[in-house]
C-alpha cells in the first residue's frame, strides 16, 4: 500500500512559507499601534473608592502555613468574626502565585481575597493597577482604615516597602534585621573576641579557618545571602532613584568591598559557597558554624530547628560596621506583611484582622518572628519562650539592628533573589570569585529591571 501524497500537501507547505515571509516583512513594515503594555499614568492615583460595604460579609484570608495558627487564634478570640481561611505559599522565594491569581481575578472582576499575607515584592504590583481598567489590589490603609498613631509605631523604615505615591498599602508583620550570630561557647573556648567591624570579622574568620579547619563564619549560597552581605554593605544593587528609575551599580565601592571581603574568606574556606539551608550543609557542617551574618530568624530557624545546636550556645551581636561609614547600616532578609483588598466588602472586619495580627501583644508577643510593631517587639523580647534558647540576651542586638536597616535597597517589582540565585550562585559553585561575577550579576538585574518597565542606570 504505497501512500499517495496529496498535491495539496505541497501547496500547504508553500502557503506556510509564504506566511512566514509575509510575517517577517510585516514586522519590518508594521506601522500599527504599539505592542507595549500601557502604563498607569504616574501620580494620577484616583481617590480610593471602597466597594459597597456589608458588615456581615465573610472575610477571606490568604495566609502562608507559618502564620496559619495566628489567624486561627484570631478566630478563637473573636468567635463572631466570619473567616474563610485559605493557605498558600505566602510568596516565599519569589513565588508569583498570589500575583498570578490577582491578575486573573482582576480580569474576572471577582474572587479576590479580603486579606492576604505577602512579601514586600507583592506590594509593588498590588499598589498599582494590573491593567488599565483595574483598581490596585491593595487598599490604602492610611486612608481612614488604620489610625496614623498605629502606623507611626512600626519600626523605623519597616513600612517603607508598603509606601507608594504617598499612601501606605500594607502593614508589616515582622522584620528580619540582619545581626551577627555566633556560637558563644565555641568563641569563648577558643578565646576569641566577638568582632564589631567587618575587618575584624575577616581577620577572625581567616584565623578560625587556619586554627580550626572546617569551622565556618558564614555562607553565601542561600537565595537571600545577598541581603545579608550586600544590603548591609549599602551596595546600590536595587536602588530606586525615583519610582521608575533603578540604579544598579555593582562597581560601586560599597559593593566591591563586600565582594572582595567574601572572596578572601571563601578562598580561606571560612565562608561556604553552599547555602545554610541546603541538605548538603546540614549533613556536613551544621555543627561547625562559629558565626553567621544573617537575619533575626536565624536563631530559631537555623541554629535551633535546622542545625539542632543545643540551647545556651548561640547568641547575637549588633551589626558589623565598615570603617569610614558615618552611619551604621544593616540588611533585612524577608519579613512578611499583610494587605487588605480594595475590593473587600467588609473593610472594617478586614482591617481589624490585620491590625490584630500585626500589632496585638497577644499575637505578636509569641509570634515566630520578630514583630515590626515596636510595642509588640518589646513584648516579644520580654517573652521567655523567645529568648530562653540563647546564651545571652539578644535584645540589644535586635533592637539596635531593627533601627539600622539601610533604606537604599529598594523594593522592586521583581524579586532581588532571581538574579543572585540564577547567575551568581551557580558561578560561585563553579569556583568563580564574587568579584568576577559582579558584572554578570549587574547585567542580569538590569535586564530584569528593564523587562519590568524600569529605566536602568548603571552609574
Amino acid at each position: 500500500m504505497k501512500p499517495l501524497r496529496s498535491p495539496n500537501h505541497n501547496a500547504r507547505a508553500r502557503t506556510a512559507s509564504a506566511i512566514a515571509v509575509a510575517m517577517c516583512t510585516a514586522v519590518a513594515l508594521a506601522g500599527c499601534a504599539s505592542a507595549a503594555k500601557s502604563t498607569s499614568p504616574a501620580g494620577a492615583s484616583s481617590a480610593f473608592k471602597p466597594a459597597k460595604q456589608d458588615t456581615s460579609a465573610k472575610t477571606t484570608v490568604w495566609t502562608d502555613s507559618t502564620r496559619l495558627p495566628q489567624v486561627q487564634q484570631y478566630q478563637k478570640e473573636h468567635p463572631e468574626a466570619k473567616l474563610n481561611i485559605v493557605t498558600y505559599d505566602g510568596g516565599a522565594d519569589g513565588s508569583t502565585y498570589l500575583q498570578s491569581k490577582i491578575q486573573l481575578f482582576d480580569r474576572t472582576g471577582n474572587g479576590w481575597p479580603d486579606v492576604v499575607f505577602g512579601s514586600p515584592t507583592d506590594v509593588t504590583w498590588a499598589s498599582q493597577p494590573t491593567n488599565p481598567s483595574a483598581v490596585p489590589f491593595a487598599a490604602p490603609l492610611d486612608d481612614n482604615l488604620v489610625p496614623k498613631t498605629t502606623l507611626d509605631n512600626f519600626a523605623k523604615g519597616s513600612l517603607s516597602p508598603c509606601q507608594y505615591n504617598g499612601h501606605t498599602y500594607c502593614v508589616r508583620n515582622d522584620i528580619a534585621q540582619v545581626v551577627l550570630w555566633y556560637n558563644k561557647t565555641l568563641l569563648d573556648k577558643w578565646g576569641y573576641q566577638v568582632p564589631s567591624t567587618w575587618p575584624e570579622y575577616q581577620t577572625l574568620g581567616e584565623k578560625i579557618a587556619k586554627e580550626h579547619p572546617g569551622y565556618l563564619v558564614g555562607a553565601v549560597g542561600d537565595t537571600n545571602s545577598q541581603e545579608s552581605y550586600f544590603w548591609s554593605s549599602q551596595c546600590p544593587a536595587f536602588q530606586l532613584t525615583d519610582p521608575t528609575t533603578l540604579r544598579v551599580n555593582l562597581q560601586d565601592p560599597h559593593c566591591t568591598r563586600a565582594a572582595s571581603l567574601l572572596d578572601s574568606l571563601i578562598s580561606a574556606k571560612a565562608v561556604s559557597t553552599q547555602g545554610f539551608f541546603s541538605q548538603g550543609f546540614t549533613k556536613g557542617s551544621a555543627g561547625k558554624v562559629a558565626m553567621a551574618y544573617g537575619p533575626s530568624w536565624y536563631g530559631q530557624y537555623l541554629f535551633n530547628a535546622a542545625f539542632k545546636v543545643p540551647a545556651g550556645q548561640i547568641t547575637a551581636a549588633p551589626p558589623l560596621t565598615w570603617p569610614g561609614d558615618s552611619s551604621p547600616a544593616t540588611g533585612n532578609v524577608g519579613g512578611g506583611l499583610w494587605m487588605v483588598s480594595s475590593h473587600s466588602s467588609n473593610l472594617k472586619a478586614a482591617t481589624d484582622l490585620v491590625t490584630w495580627l500585626t500589632t496585638s501583644d497577644s499575637n505578636q508577643g509569641s509570634a515566630p518572628t520578630y514583630p515590626a510593631y515596636v510595642p509588640a517587639a518589646k513584648t516579644w523580647l520580654a517573652n521567655p519562650t523567645n529568648s530562653k534558647y540563647f546564651a545571652t540576651d539578644i535584645s540589644p542586638a535586635f533592637e539596635q539592628a531593627a533601627n539600622e536597616v539601610w533604606t537604599g535597597w529598594s523594593n522592586t517589582k521583581f524579586s532581588d533573589a532571581t538574579a543572585w540565585s540564577s547567575i551568581v550562585l551557580p558561578g560561585l559553585t563553579a569556583g568563580k570569585s564574587l568579584t568576577s561575577l559582579l558584572p554578570s550579576w549587574q547585567k542580569a538585574i538590569s535586564d530584569e529591571a528593564k523587562a519590568n518597565g524600569y529605566t536602568v542606570t548603571n552609574q
Binding site: 505592542a35 549533613k283 559553585t429 563553579a430
Partner: protein
Amino acid sequence: MTLVAMDSATNAVPSRPSRRGAKPRWEGGIASYLFVAGYTVLLAAFGIFPTGYALYLAFTNDRGQFVGFNQFSKVAGDYRFLPAFENIAVYLALWLVMLVVMTVLTAVALRSWVRPGLSSLLRFLYYLPGALAGVASVLVWLFMLDPSVSPAGPLLRAIGQDSFAATLNPSHLPVILFLIAFWTGAGGWIVVMYGALNNISEDVLEAARMDGAGRWKTAWHIQIPMIRKWITYMSILAFAAGTQLFVEPQLLQTASLGRVSPTWSPNQLAYVYAFQQGDFNGAAAISIFLLVLGLVCAGVLVARSDLFKLEEQ
C-alpha cells in the same frame, strides 16, 4: 481525500484488496453529527475558541488595538526569549535522539537476547516509574540529584557533583530534565515497541535467519524498519510533550531555591509575561510561536513518514 492512520506497520500480510475496491456505502447521515456532537462542543469550547482568543491577543495590545506583528517582534527581542528556545532545543534534541535510540535498542534486545521470563520482569521494571509522572517525578529526582541523600551519591561525587547546588547547575538542566522524562516515559514506550516487535511474524524472522542474517542484521534490516511507524508516532508525541515543558523546570526552580532561571522554558516565559508582567498579549505571542514550531515539526515528521496515509477517494 481522507486520512487513514497507522495501517498495519507490523503486519506482513498485504491488506485486503476489498477496501480499495468498490466504494463501500458507509454514510451515517444525521446520526454521525449526533455522534460527534459532544466532542465537537468540547473541541470548540476548549480547542478552537481559546486558540482564536490567543491569536486575537497576540495581534492586539491591552487596549484592544490591532498591532500587527509588533507583539511577536517585541517578545522575540526579549533577552530571555532566545535562551528559552535554546534550552528547549537542546533538551528536545537530547530527549528525542536518546528516546528513539534507547527504546528501540532495548526493545530489540529484550525481544531477541533475553529469556522471556526475565524480559517480562525487566519490561515491568522499566515501565513502573511511568506511574510517577508530573510533580511526583520531579520531587523524586530532586532527592536523586542531591548527593547527600541520593543512593547514587557516590556516583554523583565521582563525576564531580559534590553538592545539590553543583548538580543543579543551570547548564546541567537539559540533562536533568531528560533523565526525569526518560525515567518516567521510556518504559511505556519500550513495552509498546516490544509488543510491536512481537507482532512481526515468526516466518519473516525465520526467513531472514535462513538467508544467514545474524541478530544485528535482522534487527537492522527487518525488525526496526517494521516498527518505523511506531517510532515516528513516539517522536511526535514526545516532541509535543517536550515543547510544553513547564511543571518540571518550574518545580526545579522552586526546589533549587532559584538557581534555575524562572524563564528556562518558553512556556515559563509566557507564564511570567502573563502573570508577573501582566502582559497577556505578549504571553499569547510566545504561545503562538510555540504552537507554530510544534505544528511545523510535527508536520514535517508526518509528511516524511507513512504515518498518516493520504488516500484519494
